[in-house]
Symmetry: C2
Subunit: 405 residues, 2 copies
């Protein structure tokens, strides 16, 4: 039996369950005698490059438990992008650090860029004949990872979005003359999260949902708002941050130095229609709350985050699994309830591909009743989890971060 | 025994428990044989002026129960301001409608403007010798009502603010080079809600909290951000929407027609410092979520909303209570735990007065450890409530709204 250490790191935008994956990794890794050190890299791949590793065995049980309700990336994330050439200096440095700490198992927790990293490192280690297996653990609230039924983090973010849309839409309906409510939801290239708006009961649903998968026509947008406001004294629009709105340049606001306004599409579009049609607008951006809101972590999301990382730890022990990722398939139980199965697929199949919201989902939302998306999403967001509180807000894990020399 | 009908209406900005007050009113009113019809006015005082009353006895039990988890103002709110002269036409119309429906008990649920309405109507009915008692039920997330320990709606909004600040601050700490995080919290004239930031554990607290009770110096603000960002690669600022930031005019963004940007202070200040110091900024506005987020309703807030409205119904039956409001006093149980007592005070004492965040609280936040505010707020936000869900989001009350002819 080879006895080697395991290294785990986090990458890309955090989700409210990425630290639940870390919880799963730590608790599972402790069960395997062939795993020596259990290490985490601080700030993703940068932590590997800078040899900033911490000893995850040094964290006490309560802290590890609290990872399940800690937003952000507890080990720190990074935006650093590795070169495409696996013979460049960064990779030499990675090999150096990995060898120094006798790493034999490497787990990369991230989105499609991370799956690319996973593929490259696996290839590199084989090429230099260094015995280290690399596997991926998927996450992204955008839900754009190819080949998975859904990504870890997406269900909880979707629950936040659906609940908050309902809350603020009901609030906006409180006035006889309300406002044009324009809400911006995360999703740079895909509209999965924005589509969570279909979870609202029919009478509360938006007048229109805009997805980045479709072309956007600002004149049509303006005309729709004008029409709805004249009809009802209010309007409700949900839009994905990735929509290219193409606001006419004379309507873009700048200061006397030519600087553009910070911030979101909702606010830009809101300013635009407010002036054009003299209607009162409220622009809302769900911002970091949608990916960091631990109060909306779903049971399915948490369970799957734990199961996937456990399977990743068990699988990474086998050489033949290097370069793979743990994926999720949807199924039903004998009583017709949702269940999911974890399976392995090549990380390279996921890397650098974007899974768009399917055309039939979009069409069904605009022209049907949105059942396709609703049936897909409902089982993922059904139940919440129990959280531990102190002074009225949730406790969180503060890692000791004992440095591995 | 006089047998007359009760009329209740909602006014001003909604809170997440204003409909819990309505729940308390309906369930209590049903117990009193001297109350004939139980009516609600649609869109506050406008509903009275337009004779748009609904029969609250016609709502089924499940719907009434769901009011406790329904945001917004279920009867509709209004921004209409009555004249100061109780002999003007609006008041004549109010008397007409009240007489038509044999209203003997009138409950006004709102902030300090509503307490003014309550005072005026009570005076008017006495003057014309019409037998109708008027009482106030307080609400406002701003917590600026004079003479109450706290206002209904404030605890739940404060729990939202504290929890969300923690969530997004932890997220912002995930990167080595993070951003300057500027978060805007509601509170036009007072900083109570913004002060909820002290609930965060010490290591997560903001670098600076800005209250409307204090003067704001934009140069000092810029210097602070520059210093913190250079020191830590990030910064965390929480600011009340009511702060007068006085951004130099050349830094204000306008389009080619001279229109200013829609929206918040956080975004304006963010744009300002981003350009001035070339630092990355994320501006976040908690917007409607802080007053509509039913997921953060606190047990104390809910219990008090029910107890106060029950007491209001019982008290409004007595002529001598007309013109009063149900207020809240804080106490402790024999075991040192938080408790509160409802009592009556003159609505005129509350009307048109603003209770500011005390100087000693502000000073303790800036120069001490914030214990004063923390001790004040902690018991109010400690526990949450259980909510009923359908399809992953909360159910809400959809009133039948049967019109009273």
């Amino acid at each position: 039996m080879k006895k080697k250490s395991l290294l785990y790191f986090q990458s890309g935008g955090p989700t409210s369950v990425i630290n639940t994956s870390l919880y799963g990794v730590i608790t599972e890794a402790k069960k395997h005698p062939e795993i020596d050190g259990i290490y985490g890299a601080i700030h993703g791949i940068e932590g590997v490059l800078n040899d900033r590793l911490i000893d995850l065995r040094a964290e006490d049980e309560e802290t590890v438990e609290l990872l399940k309700q800690t937003p952000g990336a507890a080990l720190g994330s990074a935006r650093y992008k590795l070169s495409n050439d696996i013979h460049d200096d960064d990779y030499k440095r990675i090999v150096e650090v990995v060898k120094k700490h006798n790493i034999g198992y490497l787990l990369v927790n991230g989105g499609n860029d991370s799956m690319d990293t996973c593929t490259k490192l696996s290839k590199l280690f084989k090429e230099i004949d260094y015995d280290c297996n690399v596997m991926g653990i998927p996450k992204t609230i955008d839900n754009d990872l190819y080949g998975l039924d859904h990504s870890l983090g997406f269900p909880s973010a979707a629950k936040y979005v659906a609940q908050s849309l309902q809350d603020i839409q009901i609030d906006n309906l409180s006035y006889d003359k309300g406002k044009v409510l324009i809400v911006e939801v995360m999703g740079r290239h895909t509209g999965w999260l924005t589509a969570a708006a279909v979870m609202l009961p029919e009478e509360l649903r938006p007048d229109r949902i805009y997805f980045p998968e479709e072309d956007f026509d600002i004149d049509e947008f303006g005309a729709l708002i004008k029409e709805k406001y004249e009809e009802k004294g209010k309007a409700f629009i949900v839009i994905s941050e990735g929509v290219d709105a193409n606001i006419p340049s004379e309507d873009v606001r700048v200061d006397s130095f030519g600087h553009k306004q910070l911030g979101g599409l909702a606010s830009e579009l809101g300013s635009y229609v407010q002036d054009k049609f003299d209607v009162p607008v409220r622009a809302v951006e769900f911002s970091l709350m949608q990916r960091a809101g631990v109060s909306h972590i779903t049971k399915v999301d948490q369970n799957e985050a734990i199961r996937i990382s456990r399977k990743a730890v068990r699988s990474v022990l086998k050489d033949s699994n290097s370069g793979k990722m743990v994926a999720l398939k949807r199924g039903v139980t004998s009583t017709g309830k949702y269940k999911s199965t974890c399976y392995l697929q090549k990380a390279s199949k996921v890397a650098n591909v974007e899974r768009k919201l399917p055309e039939e989902f979009i069409d069904d939302i605009h022209n049907g009743n949105g059942d396709l998306m609703r049936e897909y999403l409902a089982p993922l967001i059904e139940d919440g989890i129990k959280l531990d509180y102190e002074n009225g807000i949730t406790k969180y894990a503060q890692l000791k971060k004992v440095r591995v020399e």
